[in-house]
Symmetry: C2
Subunit: 357 residues, 2 copies
Amino acid sequence: MTLILSNADVEKLLTMPDCIAALEEAYVDLADGRGVTRTRSDTITPTGRQDALYSLKSMDGVVPALGVGAVRINSDILTWPKIGNNVRRVKVPAAPNQRYTGLVLLFSTETGEPLAIFPDGVMQRIRVGATNGLGIKYMARQDASRIGILGSGWQAGTQLMAACTVRDIKSIRCFSPNKDNREKFSAEMSEILGIGVVPVAQTEDAIVGADIVMCSTNTVDAVFFERWLHEGMHLSSIKRPEVEPAAILRADRVVVHTHDGKPIHTVSKGLELPEDKENMGWQVASEIDFRKLPTLPEVIAGRVPGRTSDSEITCFLNNLGLGYQFAAAGAVVYKRAKEQGIGHDLPTDWFTEDVHP
Amino acid sequence: MTLILSNADVEKLLTMPDCIAALEEAYVDLADGRGVTRTRSDTITPTGRQDALYSLKSMDGVVPALGVGAVRINSDILTWPKIGNNVRRVKVPAAPNQRYTGLVLLFSTETGEPLAIFPDGVMQRIRVGATNGLGIKYMARQDASRIGILGSGWQAGTQLMAACTVRDIKSIRCFSPNKDNREKFSAEMSEILGIGVVPVAQTEDAIVGADIVMCSTNTVDAVFFERWLHEGMHLSSIKRPEVEPAAILRADRVVVHTHDGKPIHTVSKGLELPEDKENMGWQVASEIDFRKLPTLPEVIAGRVPGRTSDSEITCFLNNLGLGYQFAAAGAVVYKRAKEQGIGHDLPTDWFTEDVHP
């Protein structure tokens, strides 16, 4: 049977400790070169609408240690409205019932068969959280207990859950420019984590005295600056532009998620993407050669130290996601779903064939 | 609703004339640079078996003119048994009920939603046939009526169907080294095409006097040699090694399917693929720079002539498949399936999401 799972199923089945453990095992395989991941590709064309483009994004990864391969696909309608003074990239929920289209297909490396198909959204944020959680596990001080987080959006919650999984966290302060958002988020996360999350009105109020500073925004401009670094801090980022390049250059130890560079872009002739024009995202910190920095898998595999003294300033940059993460987290979800009898069972024969392809 | 279709459905829905027409339209879009295709990627790792490897292959393409994007995925268990003196690459049907795993996912460029999911096998051979059919349409003599075909396997049938769609074919001779195979194939195809297909015992018997010679094998060695070229011939190939490089060099006009080079290989460290060791496939004809040859889409779009006189020798090399073909052929299948009410309807909500991915 091939399992069809929902985001609600994934949320129930994929705990943060399980996801962190699966990624940790898979990253050793990746550092050893047994595990493999294929750079994300974005295929972008016009649509029938003047104000929107179509993007078909895919990334593949195979974790031999867990016996699974995954393909993650996003089929997006993209727009770039001007919000305030900034151009933002906004996905339009144009599928029926105002929904987005993102899928993970999971395959067995032993039989080739499709094991499961499920939406990517919930897993997407859990694996980002788990990855930065591993950054904290291997790079933050052992006694780190105070977090300052910048951001209160979709990714911020799993960032905190991951941090609390790998360190004994005692206090969390949250800055986000919108008062309502930061207060709502802080109340919700206090409840979920059982640790008081305090909303603060200035970035500095979140950062002063923090052992760990987590940037968790969708910004296109820097939100963390060099002047805020202090001895012993671990700085964590989920998006390249979040951290001012000077801060990266001053940190004693900087680790990136992957050496995979830019996604492979294949774009219709004559199309100009606003992010290329506006220099959004990828070109920030061009004075830093990310390929010369060690990767998280190398740190986990013990090839490179994450931190060598309590006074060092460490920095983990989650610079690009990998299809590989969906294979590792997918293996957990599939195993748990089978154990618990969750999901719609469809005949595997619907997704396989007797003719030689 | 998202449609789940079978190979039998695809066979019923995708006629050769429809497939040729869809590719023809889509290739104009591709030559114009509006249509885009992402180079195939192969992600290859060990399995639990010593004698087999796992390969996760994917390719994407978007045809804005038809409003569809497609991802084709193959999840294969590969072995390389020695058959006679040759090492052959053999896919093992290791999925339940001894089946292979190959899938096409079709998406709307207007809403992003998944329109259909179906196995790739039947479409795979129809689109190869249709592509070489377009080669004949644009490059063979208008009065070409006699075909010699080398091969009697899975691909050969659709090669002949395509040729008969674009030219008024009167005679077909088939050579294949195994007597039983060529006789069985010839009898079957005579029935399907309503044109007598004559099995012959020597390659030359198929080629002498043929206006069109079609190579349709899975060989790793050349099966067509320069000495067999004659004035006015159109030579058609579905696999790089089939045609001796000297024959390609002597042809007056050579067109390739695509400038996409080798697939993107991402392979576990230390794995040695027999095809790399044995120099199978890709490196044949290395003295010819395929990127300097015109492509079929350029010929169809009228940028380059396919043939300028009846005496020319023309040659079409279908050097690499494209995800783009699955989007074009998929658009036809989806339209026909909706018209005829064919396939399993699943809720589109199963494959979309309300969270921002």
